[in-house]
């Protein structure tokens, strides 16, 4: 199946940059990652959860470290497991209501980062893992693509099934409860989707910029959107265009592709900010 997609890319995009296998893989990767980040970003921004997703990105370091130490070939599963644990921990501490959510997340985030760095530098070899910091889209292989495709399908399916409930819960928990919507279930589900998606993508996007990819397209979109549909569709469009443009640019400039993509989304934010209709 992959060879057919490669052939399709050759037909549609008969360019120099698209002739390499690693660029074809990266292209498919971007086409899978960008839309789900664009979609989830709208809800992350509306729920003021940008800090949460940032914490998840950073805490992936600990996941990597644990994966390396217990020496399972791919640290990915340890990372996913750790991000789920962290999410559950944040939710339960949040429920105990001892400090503001931001503080709770901050505590977990800094602890996880510090733990990750300590564990990874244990034998003085932190430099080996810097790839995780900036990510490497060009290293996606066919197995990774399968994983990304699965993530893509799951997120889109959930987004079709539970988006309205997530939106309803985001307004006011009491109101949602009065209409029989179980807020805890949907809150948890949403945080888990974000956690798993961020973790799965982190190797290619990088710890340092993964949150920008989640937040910036949505932030740019809300400058010009008037309703939820425009908000989501503009966000996806901005993420896709930035993803493609950033990938091609990074190929010719020889820059890190993740960061190049983020710079273009930032450019979109600046443009939409300037042209946005005057706030009422």
């Amino acid at each position: 199946m992959l060879t057919e997609i490669y052939r399709l890319i050759d037909t549609v995009l008969p360019f120099d940059w698209a002739s390499h296998i690693f660029m074809k893989n990266a292209l498919i990767g971007v086409l899978l990652i960008a839309p789900i980040f664009g979609l989830m970003g709208t809800m992350v921004v509306s729920n003021r959860m940008a800090f949460f997703s940032d914490a998840l990105g950073h805490s992936a370091l600990t996941g990597i470290a644990i994966g390396v130490i217990i020496n399972i070939g791919q640290p990915l599963w340890a990372m996913i497991l750790f991000s789920i644990l962290l999410t559950v921990a944040i939710i339960s501490v949040k429920k105990a209501n001892t400090a503001s959510t931001d503080t709770v997340i901050g505590v977990f985030s800094s602890t996880a980062v510090a733990l990750g760095v300590v564990l990874l530098s244990l034998r003085g070899g932190f430099a080996k893992y810097t790839a995780y910091l900036i990510g490497d889209l060009l290293s996606i292989d066919s197995y990774d693509l399968l994983l990304l495709a699965a993530t893509f399908v799951i997120v889109i399916a959930l987004w079709l099934l539970i988006f309205n409930k997530l939106l309803a819960v985001s307004f006011n928990p009491s109101l949602a409860r009065s209409r029989g919507i179980r807020c805890v279930v949907y809150d948890t589900l949403f945080m888990l989707i974000v956690a798993v998606t961020v973790t799965v993508s982190i190797r290619w996007v990088g710890v340092l910029i993964i949150n920008s990819l989640l937040v910036l397209p949505a932030a740019a979109s809300r400058n010009i959107a008037r309703n939820t549909r425009q908000y989501s569709l503009f966000s996806v469009a901005i993420a896709l265009i930035s993803g493609l443009a950033g990938l091609i640019l990074s190929f010719y400039l020889g820059t890190a592709s993740g960061a190049t993509i983020v710079l273009i989304t930032a450019f979109f934010f600046a443009v939409t900010f300037v042209i946005r209709p005057a706030a009422r």
């Binding site: 509306s46 987004w159 006011n172 009491s174 409860r177 009065s178 809300r222 008037r226 549909r229």
Partner: protein, 262 residues
């Protein structure tokens, strides 16, 4: 503990139509007891106003009825034949509606998220739009359907929330009036609207209110929440003439304590 609040006037009607009975309701959060021994009858077609000082537990009472916070005691809903009806449709207008005002969410999106399962980020059905327009028309707010939720005024937002609470038409309507953000004419319009809707749909309404003038004019019954429980209930005249109520709200004392003990 048979001290149910029933002022007699509507006692006979209660069983005939429907009623909500709250028996010995208490709410404790952590170490703090917020409410205890609350006994109430709420009747159909009646507007019951809840008054009391700040932090008296008025909002907590509504949240317990909604089921958002755990409570002790019993909530019983009786239908026309005096038999227990389970799970009434509850309409709720929260006091604080603390959402992100800069979010690009229209009034249509807001309604659709509660009324439909079709993902609102992808589908905008004409039929749903008609339904929402019809809901909004009950509160005279059809023109707001494409406005951004965050751009509405306090009064407009309250009407939109009321329209949602009425769709589907509830058995029990709980309104938690915001402390601020609505001017006096908006408030008058709101009370008039709620009062008319009560007759139109024969609703049981519990309204947490901060405006005694409005309560006096529109409420059928008044509940005074004080010292963690319902201390008094009765007609507005009865409750307002009580010394404790008068003192708390700075009313001119006309006569002493005719309000029924609850």
């Amino acid at each position: 503990m048979n001290r149910q609040a029933d002022n007699g006037r509507n006692g006979a009607r209660c069983g005939a139509i429907c009623c909500t009975r709250i028996i010995n309701l208490g709410v404790t959060r952590g170490q703090y007891e917020i409410l205890r021994g609350v006994n109430l009858h709420i009747h159909c077609g009646e507007l019951t106003a809840v008054i009391g000082g700040n932090g008296a537990g008025k909002t907590t009472l509504l949240k317990a009825i909604v089921g958002e916070i755990p409570y002790s005691g019993e909530l019983i809903y009786l239908d026309e034949k005096e038999t227990r009806a389970s799970g009434p449709v509850i309409g709720y207008v929260p006091q604080k509606f603390d959402f992100d005002r800069s979010s690009p969410i229209s009034v249509f999106d807001f309604f659709a998220s509660f009324l439909s399962n079709k993902p609102v980020w992808l589908v905008r059905s004409k039929k749903l739009r008609e339904e929402i327009l019809q809901s909004l028309s009950r509160v005279g707010a059809q023109h707001l359907i494409d406005r951004k939720l965050g751009a509405l005024s306090g009064g407009e937002l309250q009407r939109v929330l009321l329209a949602l609470a009425l769709d589907p038409v509830p058995n029990l309507l709980l309104l938690d009036e915001p402390v601020s953000g609505i001017d006096h004419s908006g408030l008058r319009m709101f009370y008039k609207l709620v009062s008319d809707l009560r007759r139109q749909f024969d609703l049981s309404i519990i309204l947490v209110s901060h405006d005694l003038g409005m309560v006096e004019k529109y409420a059928d019954r008044v509940i005074f929440v004080n010292n963690k429980t319902v201390e008094l209930c009765g007609t507005p005249e009865e409750v307002f003439s009580n010394g404790g109520v008068a003192e708390l709200f700075g009313l001119n004392l006309r006569s002493r304590g005719k309000g029924t003990q609850c």
